[in-house]
């Protein structure tokens, strides 16, 4: 029998216990529908408020978080999330507006969305922006749908192949798969750039376009980016930018200026929307002029121009050849857009550039400190992250062991085993919100772990040893597939 450190909410339940109660009805009572329409039991927990608070507080203590420490998870941009955002997104005027209210009653929301569209255009150099996509992968799907619609509108129906570099995030090919297109993998060259020869060979009139993360998942800005874009567009393809790594580019270069046709933003990475244990994110998409008519509907537009005395009237507009609706309502307004709006407003143009510069400085500083201890397969000035190899000659220690051992030093591990093209990859993204002391402690820990790998490898194999939980039996989870914890004997009908 396993030891239970914290019971589930069901196990804590006791019949008859009460939490929050609701007021008595102030209207005459009518009968419920006939019994055939009603459920016979409601097997849900019964607890007092204090039971609930203690339970979730206990669970929260099991989590590592950005508020608690350094979280250098590559490609995830785990930066500090300013507390003021938590207050602005909960202002009653935002919290309590219904998505279907008449536009005259929600001009504050619409003005915020309109400005946000404009600001994201300005930051990225694109002609149009939709705020609707709910997350990065959702934005990717939106972008690929627009690329398909563009070709279709031109009667160009034989384009079915999407070019994707071998370093790409798995959502790229998966987004393409959702549309039934095929994926052509393009290798990287020895400097971590797209292999131009391979790209040239793949470019023909069956190419939908290319999906490129730049900086890529090795943390490298592609040194031939303009040639890459020229090749893809030269054969009639469209250039998709995965904006996962936009944090490195704020005020540094605009993807639209480089010639990208479409890119998704990850507001939960670049613009400080907290990650929430896996979501909600927010994934607006920017497009060049030739794709603007295909944006999802609706967008926020000006319905009646204003003048010196009156503000314009904001409302919804539908692009001419829109791909349609990506989700219900208007995107992740409260939890996504209001937080990011606050963040951009407080940084201004110079502050945004500082973010990118210090994110890149911190990554290069860590890379410099770890060079010589760990093998860095693509060793040049990196952008906001870099990838090193978590293994040593003559040792059976793996990247996973190093990651787990880092927990004993009270750090969150880097992303491991990604990108797939680096053996035993450890992908490290410190972000701009870490100070030098933290970076030094982290580098010191990794150097110490490299020594331990030689002198006491079992320390790594058995890590973590100081955390509340040890390594998990993942095979058992998949084999037994216990996904639910209903204990019906605790309930009275």
């Amino acid at each position: 029998m396993a030891t239970i450190i914290e019971p589930t909410i069901f196990e804590l339940s006791s019949p008859g216990r009460r939490g929050v109660t609701m007021p008595a009805s102030d209207v005459p009572t009518v009968d419920l529908p006939a019994k055939d329409f009603l459920r016979s039991e409601l097997p849900l927990p019964e607890l007092a408020e204090v039971d609930v608070v203690r339970h979730y507080m206990k669970l929260s203590s099991f989590n590592y978080s950005v508020d608690g420490g350094f979280y250098p998870l590559g490609s995830c941009t785990m930066k500090y999330n300013p507390k003021i955002n938590e207050d602005t997104c909960r202002l009653p005027g935002f919290l309590f507006t219904h998505p279907l209210q008449p536009i005259e009653t929600v001009q504050g929301n619409l003005a915020l969305m309109y400005e946000m569209q404009d600001w994201l255009k300005e930051i990225s150099g694109f002609a149009g922006v939709t705020l609707q996509p709910a997350a990065g992968a959702h934005g990717e799907f939106t972008g690929v749908l627009m690329m398909a619609a563009y070709h279709k509108s031109r009667g160009d129906t034989k384009r079915t192949r999407m070019l994707i570099p071998d370093a790409a995030h798995g959502t790229n090919p998966a987004s393409v798969g959702m549309l039934g297109m095929s994926v052509v993998t393009i290798p990287s060259d020895s400097r971590g750039n797209v292999d131009l020869k391979a790209l040239e060979a793949a470019c023909d009139d069956t190419v939908v376009g290319m999906m490129l993360t730049n900086p890529n998942t090795l943390g490298m800005f592609d040194e031939n980016i303009e040639k890459v874009i020229k090749l893809v567009q030269g054969c009639g393809g469209l250039m998709y930018g995965d904006g996962a790594n936009l944090n490195a580019l704020l005020g540094i270069v605009r993807p639209g200026d480089l010639g990208f046709d479409v890119m998704h933003f990850n507001l939960h990475k670049t613009f400080s929307v907290p990650h929430g244990g896996g979501g909600p994110g927010s994934g607006p998409v920017g497009v060049s002029q030739r794709l603007a008519d295909f944006l999802p509907s609706p967008l926020v537009g000006i319905i009646e121009e204003g003048d010196d005395e009156t503000a314009p009237l904001y409302g919804f507009v539908n692009p001419k050849n829109s791909i349609g609706r990506m989700k219900a309502f208007h995107g992740h307004f409260g939890g996504g857009l209001v937080r990011s709006y606050t963040y951009i407003l407080m940084h201004g143009p110079d502050g945004l550039k500082d973010i990118a510069q210090y994110a890149v400085l911190n990554a290069n500083y860590l890379q410099a400190r770890l060079r010589g201890t760990y093998r860095i397969p693509y060793d040049r000035i990196c952008m906001h992250e870099f990838v090193m190899e978590g293994h040593f000659e003559g040792s059976d220690v793996r990247a996973l062991d190093i990651s787990k051992r880092l927990m004993d030093y009270d750090f969150h591990p880097p992303t491991n085993y990604f990108p797939l093209i680096v053996p035993e990859a450890l992908m490290i993204e410190p972000t701009e919100t870490e100070n030098k002391d933290t970076l030094d402690r982290f580098a010191d820990a990794l150097i110490k772990i490299a020594e331990e790998a030689k002198s006491q490898p079992d320390l790594l194999h058995n890590a973590p040893s100081t955390t509340q939980f040890g390594r998990m039996d993942e095979v058992k989870a998949a084999r037994e597939l216990v996904l639910c914890c209903w204990l019906p004997e605790n309930y009275e009908a």
Partner: protein
């Protein structure tokens, strides 16, 4: 305002370690003529200024707590959220954590999702739940993906009830445009038909039947016969359900549904002008390998502690890449947590009180509104907390008149159903006092 914790002296020391002179030197890989664009954005504000600016913007809205009386639902509902919910969501340990890829230091998130999965399956009467989707509309679109994968593309027909939320149907059309599906059932003209009309459309080519419960017009149907018919033809059935209604009503699981999805916003998530919300997705165990999204399973750690991990990850995009069922990467983790706290702190009895208040108040409103000359309920079927009121004038005009008096009357159904001009969809929840309902009735009497 900056959040960068590095002094100029520290910066210089770090630049020296890196081996460059200035920050700008780090960017030589970027084409020189495109480097360092001047961004035309408003100048930076301090926290004090930004807080004031945002407060101004927020207060220029009219909200449904302080400024307006609201009977607007149609997919997003004004419910009371107990204080505890947001207190828990504001814990940095929860909201500043990432997807729980490292289970040893993410057991809080993992156990919370495991409990969420359990709460949702118990609510819907289904066997498994994933860790959530973006919203009810995209969860419904993922049900189409599941059915498509289940039949490996060999069945390509969807029977779609016209009384499924129009936005959900629109999202399904967007999502499925690469699949070559045919959709029948929701063509113009038949949108007020009941489920029996759909039964004749189900055949051996049908992969999925989609219905809503209560439907978009608020009507409650027992879909058992429809589901049995679908199963006879080998088709799957997806029921889009309202969670508040499920507190009271027979579960779709009991009716035999294969997939139950919906929008969990009513369970502890603010209206927030439409998002972020929480799409729930529950199904039978036999379809778990075709289900998209994150999934948490129970296991033990090396010390013998009961613990939880993300499981069946081989279904997902980071392993399967272009062969994955869906590209979904995130869930709505924090809002799933909020939903769990909401369900826990109200508990079985508190939730029953919420559902009962919604039911009683909606029926009081319906009865009083029906007494007004020229007004009446459009449909005879039982309803839960939302119903269609037939109005003597176009619903748009009725709404404008009510708005002039500070009331959001409901949803004008002609927005999506052009021939339903005089049809107002009215939602009533525990937030609507008898006084508010009486105000609505009095205003319409005077119209």
């Amino acid at each position: 305002m900056t959040y960068i914790p590095i002094s100029p002296q520290e910066r210089d020391a770090m630049l020296k370690t890196v081996g460059v002179k200035t920050l700008d030197d780090l960017f030589e890989a970027i084409p020189a003529k495109r480097r360092f664009p001047k961004l035309d954005l408003p100048p930076a504000l301090t926290e004090m200024e930004a807080a004031a600016h945002l407060a101004d913007m927020a207060s220029s809205n009219e909200n449904v707590r302080q400024d307006l009386i609201s009977f607007l639902g149609a997919g997003a509902y004004n419910h009371y959220v107990p204080s505890v919910v947001d207190h828990m969501l504001r814990r940095g340990e929860f909201y500043t954590a990432y997807t729980p890829y490292q289970p040893e230091i993410s057991q809080g998130t993992l156990q919370a999702i495991f409990e969420y999965q359990s709460l949702m399956t118990n609510l819907t009467g289904m066997e498994v739940s994933n860790a959530s989707h973006y919203d009810g509309a995209t969860a419904t679109a993922e049900a189409v993906n599941l059915a498509y994968a289940q039949y490996r593309g060999k069945r390509k027909k969807i029977v779609m009830s016209p009384s499924v939320n129009p936005q959900y149907r629109a999202v399904i059309r967007t999502y499925s445009q690469g699949m070559g599906l045919t959709e029948v059932g929701d063509e113009a003209g038949n949108h007020e038909d009941g489920p029996e009309v759909l039964m004749s459309l189900i055949d051996e080519a049908t992969m999925l039947v989609v219905v809503q419960y209560p439907d978009f017009f608020g009507r409650i149907y027992d879909y058992k016969k429809l589901i049995d018919t679908a199963h006879e033809k080998g088709a799957l059935v997806c029921v889009v359900a309202n969670p508040t209604a499920l507190i009271l009503l027979k579960t779709p699981g009991e009716m035999g549904a294969d997939i139950v999805v919906g929008e969990a916003q009513p369970f502890g998530i603010p209206l927030w002008y439409g998002g972020p919300y929480l799409g729930f997705f529950t199904t039978k165990k036999s379809y778990v390998h075709k289900m998209a999204g994150r999934l948490v399973g129970e296991t033990v750690d090396v010390r013998g502690n009961r613990s939880y991990v993300l499981t069946l990850t081989a279904r997902e995009q980071h392993i399967k890449r272009e062969r994955a069922t869906s590209n979904i990467c995130t869930n709505q983790g924090l809002l799933a947590l909020g939903c769990s706290v909401y369900m826990s702190v109200l508990g079985r009895q508190g939730l029953q009180e919420v559902a009962n208040l919604c039911y009683q108040k909606a029926h009081y409103a319906a009865a009083e509104l029906s007494k007004i000359d020229g007004f009446g309920l459009c449909h005879p079927e039982p309803f839960f907390h939302e119903f269609v009121l037939c109005t003597p004038k176009p619903a748009g005009e009725v709404n404008q008149y009510l708005l002039d008096h500070g009331v959001l009357g409901g949803y004008d159904l002609s927005t999506d159903y052009p021939d339903m001009q005089n049809h107002l969809l009215v939602a009533v929840t525990e937030m609507n006092s008898r006084d508010e309902i009486d105000t609505l009735v009095a205003l319409l009497k005077e119209m």
